[in-house]
Symmetry: C2
Subunit: 87 residues, 2 copies
């Protein structure tokens, strides 16, 4: 399946969340990760995030499309790379 | 169709982009809008954004799913409302 994950996480936990998501998905943009992932790996990823986040303060939005052919992506303007974040 | 739009926009233009997207889609979270929209309306929205943004500095990511039934959304943790931004 193809997933997009966006998040809004407390400052103290955001880098941990980002690091964990990088193990499973591709960074797209500020607070957005995406990519193809199996159900098992996704559940593993969500369980790991659950250990890092505080559910009363943090938000994670998961969009799931079973067949990757059903989602089209278009980038308008600048396509950023993960490295840009650290320059 | 169902679309998710995420953006990374220069500080000076971000509130204009946010205001414009609110006319067409539902605010989800920090830099994320989503909702059902017709192709005509989407093109109108993108043209309006094109007038506001600077393509060498700003990024807009558009994810398009023709049949809304093909996308599943799950919120983990806190579900935020647009009003929370201004409290």
């Amino acid at each position: 399946m193809y997933v997009i994950i966006t998040y809004d996480i407390g400052q103290k936990r955001v880098s941990k969340v980002c690091k964990k998501l990088k193990e499973y998905l591709r960074w797209t943009q500020n607070s957005v990760f995406e990519g193809e992932i199996s159900k098992t790996k996704l559940l593993e990823c969500l369980a790991a995030l659950d250990n890092i986040t505080i559910s009363s303060e943090d938000s994670i939005y998961l969009y799931q499309v079973d067949n990757p052919k059903n989602i089209k992506k278009k980038v308008i303007g600048l396509e950023k790379s993960f490295e840009d974040l650290f320059l």
